[in-house]
Amino acid sequence: MSGHHHPRAIGGKLLDRPMQILLAIFGVAAATMAYRFARGLGPVSNMTDGFTWGIWEPVNVVVFTGIGAGAYGVGLLAYLLNRGRYHPLVRPAVLVGAIAYTLGASSILVALGRYWNSYWLPWLPYWNLGSALLEVAICVLSYVLVLWIEVMPSVLEGAAASQASGWASFGRRYGPLLDKAMPYVIALAILLPTMHQSSLGGLMLIAGPKIHPLWHTALLPALFLVSCLSMGYGAVVVLVNLLRVTWKAKQDQALFAEMSKVNAGLLLLYVVLRVGDVALHGKLRYLGANFATLLFLFELALFLVPAVLFLTRRGQQDRGLHFGAAALAIAGGAFYRVDTYLTMYRPAGWTDGRANPGGWDYFPSLGETVVTVGMAALGIAVFILVSRLFPVVVVDDQQTSNLGGADVRAATSH
């Protein structure tokens, strides 16, 4: 554990040019949302009674939380499997998770028609436990809370190191207390995503007749759980690499080499489950020269290609290739999720793999796209802000060190 570098606040100018751009994008989104609250969902979106969730649910909620699942994945490795070497990844991953989940939850609020009634949601007697969405809602809301608690150690540490005496004593006093409580928070932080990420898949179980049979299966919960982990690990790799490029953050390629085996396993598990489901449940007949098959194969490729890359030596050592594989893993999960929720969803259902005539059509409106992009921009802005102010990112002090590369060789040679 001697190699432990401690995270530290990046500092620097808060309102620099990138920040201004991000906030400007969010400003446009905020204006769009204000309009939506004043005039209803119809005027800003292309959502209809047929495609009632548009892109906000599948992208803002399902994909964003998939990316945010890096916190879940790293937590699993670092705490449960006790791989202490993963600790440097925990804080950035947790922060990204907290931000992504908060954005997901607030996106739901924007998309909800009768948002003012959601104050009833925590009221236990009104819970309908048959509803997968209720489970998602409760779990996500609790998890957002838990994630921010997980972010707190950074804040308290930052406080303890602060110049202001009151703030510093606050940090020194509550930091250790929180530290003691952390195992129970962390256990919750692993349990909750396990539950709601599978429920995100479970959500679409009931829409059975409306989803293409290649996508609809009783394995939806399992597939969503596995894909959230592969997306999450991918997101951590992408994040750390970006941090390294921008802020010279420490990046331990040996660690990634090890993690890439885990991710390869997850990606392959997904492929096995997916192909197994199609093969064993008599769905092979839906394969043919059609769009569904093409999309299905494309998705599988987005899982298979990074899996293979993660297993090859070059894919583990070459940062660029590794980064590319991780990006593909995120894209694979994102495609799978959006396809299940939107692309292969038809209000009038399917007959023998062909969409029934429904009369409904959908393409996201400018307003919807702006809100989605604006939310993502806000997320990046918050990440930058928190990283500048609080110790989240582990910065590599020996900037020319090639320790990572050596470790990779060591890790792969035995």
Binding site: T48, G320, L321, F323, G359, S365
Partner: protein, 371 residues
């Protein structure tokens, strides 16, 4: 010949109808047949200048003479008189002053003289059971008479529902085997069903024949399309109530007094082909069942009139609501992808992919530099 006809209609001589009135009636008739206004003028002109009026033989069988009566009871100008004036009715049992052998002789003379040229109008059903013994005139059964005079006729017109398809006498159990002219002759003749038939429909048909020597376009049942192509329901004055779901539920209830749709009371309008709602009966507005608050009984329609109980309603034959019904899967104002939205969406995805590729390359390059 002309004299014979004039004798027969002695009591019905036209009483000073002006040329203007005559042209007006002809124009109405032309309109009813679906011809332009100039055709009406031409009709009037043709009739006025014609040296020879077409000879008409009018036969009565099983019926109430309602069609003749209604023909004679048209209001001003005296349409019945006009019809009789522009044609030469050489045989008509109701109107003839003569009787017995005298009139039978005029029938023989007229049909011999105008062989292949006269128009045969049949009013009444023809009984066919027991070799047609249920109806005999001058010792001949109706079947024999109609077959004999139809053979030499230029055109056969069956007026009224009885002659068209059997009418009232054919109502179940139809003890006499009452049948229409087409059924007896084994070929489709021009039929003008109705109980009684609207005289204007006869006028239009006859005028067209007199003027142009042609018969109007007929449907598969021999009915002129100008009068029988549409169903009562299509042009019903109460249609708005049907479209809005306002139905009289029993005679005398609030809806009935308000003049609501009579469909639920058994109106046969939706399957009854006739122009009652468009052409006033004997030029008297409202003088038809629906006009006086009674459901249409379907008198023109074989199998409905006098067969389906008055209180029973029928499916709509040709639904023509204010606008078409939605299909099972209607289009829902299909979202046309706005070019801007597509552009922004594409830019976002493109930026993500591009950034990933650039970052990947940069990272690789950085590594190789270090190596």
């Amino acid at each position: 010949m002309h004299n014979t006809g004039s004798d027969m209609i002695a009591e019905l001589e036209t009483k000073g109808v002006s040329r203007r009135d005559f042209v007006k009636v002809c124009t109405i008739a032309a309109g009813a047949v679906g011809l332009p206004a100039w055709a009406g003028e031409k009709m009037a002109e043709t009739v006025e200048t014609a040296k020879r009026k077409p000879s008409v033989i009018w036969l009565h069988f099983q019926e109430c003479t309602g069609c003749t009566e209604s023909l004679l009871r048209t209001s001003h100008p005296d349409l019945g008189a006009l019809i009789l004036d522009l044609i030469s009715v050489d045989y008509h049992e109701t109107l003839a002053a003569a009787a017995g052998y005298q009139i039978e002789k005029s029938l023989e003379d007229a049909t011999r003289e105008n062989k292949g040229k006269y128009v045969l109008v049949v009013e009444g059903a023809i009984p066919v059971k027991e070799n047609g013994i249920y109806c005999r005139v001058a010792g001949k059964t109706a079947v024999e008479t109609v077959k004999r005079y139809a053979a030499d006729a230029a055109a056969v017109i069956a007026i009224g529902s009885c002659a068209s398809w059997g009418g009232v006498p054919s109502a179940s159990p139809n003890p006499t085997g009452a049948s229409g002219v087409s059924a007896v002759l084994g070929r489709t003749v021009l039929t003008l069903p109705g109980c009684p038939a609207n005289p204007y429909n006869l006028l239009g048909t006859v005028l067209q024949y007199a003027t142009f020597g042609t018969l109007p376009k007929l449907d598969e049942k021999g009915r002129p399309e100008f009068a029988y192509k549409r169903v009562i329901h299509d042009d019903c004055p109460r249609r708005a109530h049907f479209d809005n779901g306002r139905f009289a539920k029993q005679f005398g209830d609030e809806g009935h007094r308000q003049g609501w749709c009579l469909y639920q009371l058994g109106c046969k309008g939706p399957q009854t082909h006739a122009n009652c709602s468009l052409l006033d009966y004997c030029e008297t507005p409202g003088a038809w069942p629906i006009g006086i608050g009674h459901p249409c009984v379907g008198c023109t329609e074989q199998g409905i009139g006098f067969n389906v109980p008055i209180g029973v309603n029928l499916p709509i034959e040709r639904p023509t609501a204010p606008m078409a019904y939605p299909g099972i899967h209607p289009e829902h104002g299909v979202v046309s992808a706005s070019p801007v939205a597509v552009g922004v969406g594409g830019a976002v995805i493109g930026a993500l992919v591009g950034a990933a590729v650039v970052a990947s390359k940069k990272l690789s390059a950085e590594d190789s530099r270090k190596e």
